[in-house]
């Protein structure tokens, strides 16, 4: 008379075979297990933004962490919580990854106090990416507002490292004030070494500002657009990409060649918790990168 329900080890479950498991391909599903990493450099970009360079401690795990431009990672500050951050370094770089963190809540405030050598946790990469290979042979317009330059830095690296594959590469960047501009120390390199044309504008200049003032859409007069041979990547606040995409749609750029990176507060990053839903779409797995047509179809997107 035996009625004992046997204990079942889920590590042999057939469902496991299709689990990406952050490419660990281990027998145990570790969707919530982080890669331990160490802060190996910190750059103070502005008063509110810092760039953290992170090195995954375990060599095997470091090799497994393979991302594409546009994807994001969840950065765990043990004890305080996780924050979703788009990866801003080169996808080609297997040694370390870089994340740009703005002070926006308590977790990021704590993170800003972290020092070199601090151990943090990383999950990911998550989400969709910019189709860089598809853009080969064309011009690329990268348009960023404010913090939106951080997600664009990965495709800028891609374009720089494969510069001969693309025609003209333009970066259009606008912020409220000059002091908010990110990665200013790299502008010279982008222009002189990588042959990228950088166009900047601020809403309100200061005494040192010699560039243009106004809204980002005003920068379009500096660029001649060939609509049949141009791809666009936009990242910034919803009002900005709404106007930008509307303008470029009028210029004749096909909707499926304009890409937008959306921002919502992800809790799980894995298409389950529903916190980042826009309409019926998960920003974390169906996005964060969407083409303009998909964005127009999203309820609640703009």
């Amino acid at each position: 008379m035996d009625y004992k329900v046997p204990k079942q080890d889920i590590n042999t479950d057939p469902l496991l075979s299709k689990s990406p498991d952050f490419n660990r391909k281990s027998a145990v599903m570790k969707t919530d297990k982080v890669y331990k990493c160490e802060i190996i450099n910190i750059v103070e970009l502005t008063e509110f933004e810092k760039l953290f360079r992170l090195k995954i401690a375990d060599r095997t795990e470091r090799e497994l962490f393979d991302f594409r431009p546009g994807q994001f990672a969840m950065l765990e500050v043990p004890g305080f919580g996780e924050v979703p951050l788009s990866i801003t370094s080169s996808a080609n770089n297997k040694e370390y990854i870089e994340l740009c963190v703005r002070k926006a809540g308590r977790t990021t405030e704590v993170l800003h106090q972290a020092r070199l050598g601090t151990k943090l946790g990383l999950r990911g990469p998550f989400g969709t990416s910019f189709p860089m290979e598809e853009m080969a042979g064309c011009n690329i317009l990268l348009i960023a507002g404010g913090l939106g330059l951080a997600p664009l830095r990965a495709p800028i690296y891609w374009a720089s490292e494969n510069r001969n594959q693309f025609k003209e590469v333009h970066v259009l960047y606008g912020t409220k004030e000059p002091a908010q501009m990110l990665f200013t120390y790299q502008y010279g390199e982008w222009e002189k070494v990588n042959n990228i044309k950088l166009h900047t504008i601020v809403e309100k200049g200061d005494s040192d500002w010699k560039g243009r003032t106004g809204l980002i859409t005003e920068l379009f007069d500096e660029v001649t657009i060939d609509p049949q041979n141009t791809y666009v990547i936009v990242c910034g606040p919803p009002v900005m990409f709404k106007f930008v995409c509307h303008h470029l749609n009028g210029e004749g750029i096909p909707m499926n060649r304009m890409f937008v990176s959306l921002e919502r507060r992800m809790h799980c990053g894995m298409g389950k918790c529903c916190r980042c839903m826009v309409g019926s779409t998960f920003t974390c797995v169906d996005g964060p990168v969407f083409d303009y047509w998909s964005v127009l179809n999203l309820k609640e997107a703009i």
Binding site: M1, D2, Y3, K4, V5, P6, K7, Q8, I10, D13, L15, L16, S19, P20, D21, V28, M29, K30, T31, D32, K33, V34, K36, P78, G79, F80, G81, E82, V83, A104, G105, T108, G117, K119, G121, E263, R264, R265, H267, C268, M270, G271, K272, C273, C274, R275, M277, G279, S280, T281, F282, V285, D286, K299, E300
Partner: protein, 345 residues
């Protein structure tokens, strides 16, 4: 799938054997309502007699035995310059007795979302795989509308399913475990008469449904009526109290909380059941709320339930148990909301 029949006397012996050998959960009367009628919940049971297998419906669904309201995802133990993370998802085997078809269908939907996607949840999977599930049919209540959604019968997602054909149960055996356990008692192959009784039972139950919800083309209607005044009407009544989501057999939306222990030596990362009806569900760092209005939040729950998301193949996730309608003090229920949306379009 193998079909057998078992007398109710032998069935009691069988279930008692399971209860004696395993941690077992079953339907139990826990309270009485205003009219003196029993209120049922799934609770741990120690004997067959503690359960009421003829229960009408449990107030809450069986969901939270698979998706606890609060569960640890991992913990961090701090040392001077470092920390260690532990992930524990293993659970002990157990049995759940007397689960209705709609609730099993709900688990099948959760299976799609939580283990069918790109990142299967080990926590949910471990609980699902280590649960011996015995399902049972029942007479629908006046406000049950599972039949409109085609969720009134179930053909997978359980170990054993029992349909009441008078003095016997008509068994559907879906696992070798159940088959082996049944070797302990007397079961027989269904006779022609048993088969007839089985069909008669199914037909009788189907004919009992009084509440109909118009599901035709509802998914596209949910998109088209995104700005319908129906949402404002019900949204004004909605308390945004989350009761619907707590008792719902499929609402799975959650939040992640991380708390440091009082001794500052470790921290726990927990999954906390949430509801898209709650005020801060769509709030982001810095305080912006993507769904600031009551009607936005109410609508969102319906949108998720009846339009469905890509993660479960764009299928509705409602199974028609109407627990949300019964739990809602404001009288908001799927039948009224949906039928109103459908008439309007």
């Amino acid at each position: 799938m193998i079909n057998k029949v078992i007398t109710k006397g032998e069935f009691e012996k069988f279930i008692s054997g399971i209860i004696d050998a395993n941690e077992t959960i079953g339907p139990k009367q826990v309270d009485t309502d205003r009219d003196g009628k029993p209120v049922y919940q799934f609770r741990q049971v120690k004997s067959f007699g503690e359960m009421d297998l003829d229960y009408t419906i449990t107030y809450s669904s069986v969901k939270n035995f698979f998706l606890p309201f609060r569960e640890e995802l991992s913990r961090f133990d701090f040392s001077e310059k470092d920390w260690d993370q532990t992930v524990e998802y293993r659970v002990n085997p157990r049995a759940i007795i007397g689960v209705r078809p709609c609730d099993i269908n709900a688990l099948n939907i959760l299976d799609k979302v939580l283990i069918g996607g790109a990142y299967p949840s080990p926590y949910y999977l471990a609980r699902r795989r280590n649960t011996f599930l015995v399902g049972m049919d029942h007479e629908p209540l006046e406000d049950c509308f599972c039949e409109s959604l085609g969720q009134d019968t179930v053909h997978r997602g359980f170990n054993l399913f029992c349909e009441d054909i008078g003095d016997k149960y008509y068994l559907t055996i879906m696992s070798s475990k159940a088959f082996r356990f049944l070797e302990n008692v007397k079961v027989t192959d269904p006779t022609k008469e048993d088969d007839i009784k089985f069909h008669e039972r199914r037909k009788r139950l189907r004919d009992m449904f009084k509440t109909k919800v118009e599901m035709t083309g509802l998914q596209s209607v949910m998109d088209i009526e995104f700005k319908s005044p129906v949402w404002k009407k019900w949204g004004d009544k909605c308390l945004n109290c989350g009761s619907c989501a707590m008792v719902c057999p499929t609402c799975y939306c959650y939040g992640i909380e991380e708390n440091i222990d009082v001794g500052l030596k470790s921290s726990r990362k927990e999954r906390v059941q949430y509801s898209c009806n709650l005020v801060d569900f769509a709030e982001v760092a810095g305080g912006h709320n993507f769904r600031p209005l009551k009607e936005d939040r109410l609508k969102y729950r319906y949108y998720h339930h009846y339009r469905g998301f890509a993660q479960n193949g764009d299928e509705p996730i409602c199974v028609g148990c109407n627990r949300c309608g019964r739990a809602c003090l404001a009288g908001i229920n799927p039948k009224d909301v949906i039928n109103e949306l459908q008439l309007e379009s």
